[in-house]
Subunit: 181 residues, 4 copies
């Protein structure tokens, strides 16, 4: 059985990217796959200083172990200045090929304004660099402030269906690529 | 008179990107331009949480004010996982159009392995997004562990000349674009 | 006096990117700058085969000479498969640093679907590679089939204003960067 | 059984990217997989004009049919101006989701100068856009003029091993992703 881990790249208390990540993880679980979220707001991580050990930060070990045991990943980021958040990139910087290589990854970005693929493109190239797979399906949620209903679901039915397909592709192709089929 | 500010994206104690930044800033100063470095290792910055005020972190104000007063910028980053460091991106995330728009920017990346433009490309698109200028000249220093001599200078004469031209272009075009000529 | 040349990357008979280019060039001219369009539909260009001479294609020389004499460029492309058109890239491949280096460039993309920066990002990095300048302002025209009125003008007032600013920035910064101010 | 099709993006008579493609296809075949090359120098393709039919160019149909029947693709391009060749992009422009979606793709670039990932990054994003898969392994052959021996093989042993792994990954993951395992 495959296992999927989601990482949210925002530290906002009311984070739309976290909301999108919760929806995606729920859909993955509805497909019978074990999944969990690493909520960076609940973790105490240092800035990466290029060294490998952070004895004062046990959450670095928790981050690494949880990702290492995963088969698939969902990275959800707010788009800040046309890129992934520094917070998310720093969490990736704290890991290495050991944790990330070969993992099957789905990407979500959440934007205040119009839709765009900049942060998604950046993360696709970064994850490629560590020899992870990135699925072709990807989600950009524009104008995030009006994208979610009071129940936390996406108001745009088409986008909601795309999120369904995204989760299905991630689950199916994680099993294929990880030889778990 | 124009003013140029350098920001180094590494927190390593022996940072090659900081070393490269020091060389670049020295060349800018040799051209008669006022320049200073914001050493992120000496600053206490928070992770960006999407809010605008960080009352517990006076260095956020120092970062913003110093960049806001600058005409030109040099961003120097280690390439981590084929991207700019999360540390540097987070520092940019803590700023906005107010500080960054219209600034004339030169980009430097430092890599452990072979030369590559990935982090430079990423930063070029991010700085464009905040409506900064990025000069065409850019510096990628490959195999950084053997790039510098004991005197801190670049051993590769050709690369050293490229750094000269980089500094000249930054100084000259900052004056032109900022109407200071 | 500076001179600006526009190149359209579409061979469609009813090309929206050509339409956008016509509008942009008209605004440049309204600012008192000499400007002309190279309409690739009216030119007979070969596929680039890596050689430098194409004796059977006098339009290669016309392309090169016209661009070489320009101070600024506008590149307008349809976004095909999330990239610039092969037609436009091939025209750029037929030129070299001699024609392109140092030119001040504005980028326009036209899309059938939602707005996106992919083709613009690609062209920004390509033009950087030949040491051209690319202005921070850029234009992406989404859902091009409903973007233009019968008079050929943009229906979206905000987008129309952005095109004004784009032309102003191109004209002003071409003069600054080319030392023509 | 899966089938893999290689497309070379150069029209040079002595094309290094074609040479690299021949090596890659030979390794794919050595793994027992059916493979063929579409040599664009031997095909008569038009510039894409945004229409779908090119009755005067039967090779458009041959291109589309051959790619449509493939499970996997290898795209080999010279890096021109920090991007894929216009020739290759134009060939991709002549196809659509029908031919390209879901295909498992490996990317090769060949450069005159230092190694770089620009053309590879561009093609990765373009192939993603048409919902193809791109394997994490990719090949950039720097200083192509001295990369190959008289027997047509790569002189750099390490690079040659990387090409082996590239072919293995393409074959193995094409079978997995296409459900042919």
């Amino acid at each position: 059985m495959s296992k999927i881990v989601g990482i949210g790249g925002s530290l906002r208390s009311e984070s739309s990217s976290y909301q999108a990540l919760v929806l995606a993880i729920a859909r993955v679980q509805a497909l019978g796959v074990s999944a969990e979220i690493l909520d960076l707001r609940q973790m105490n991580l240092p800035f990466c200083d290029g060294t490998s050990d952070y004895p004062d930060y046990p959450d670095v070990i928790r981050l690494r172990e949880t990702v290492q045991e995963a088969d698939g990943l969902i990275l959800a980021t707010p788009e800040y200045h046309g890129g992934a958040s520094g917070v998310l990139k720093n969490a990736l910087d704290l890991m290495s090929f050991d944790q990330l290589s070969g993992k099957v990854t789905g990407l979500i970005s959440v934007l205040g304004g119009q839709s765009n693929s900049n942060a998604l493109n950046e993360l696709r190239l970064v994850m490629r660099w560590v020899h992870a797979w990135v699925i072709p399906e990807q989600i950009a949620i524009a104008q995030a402030w009006k994208a979610f209903g009071e129940d936390g679901k996406l108001l745009d039915e088409k986008l909601s269906q795309r999120l369904d397909k995204f989760a299905e592709s991630l689950v199916e192709n994680t099993q294929r690529l990880r030889g778990l089929g």
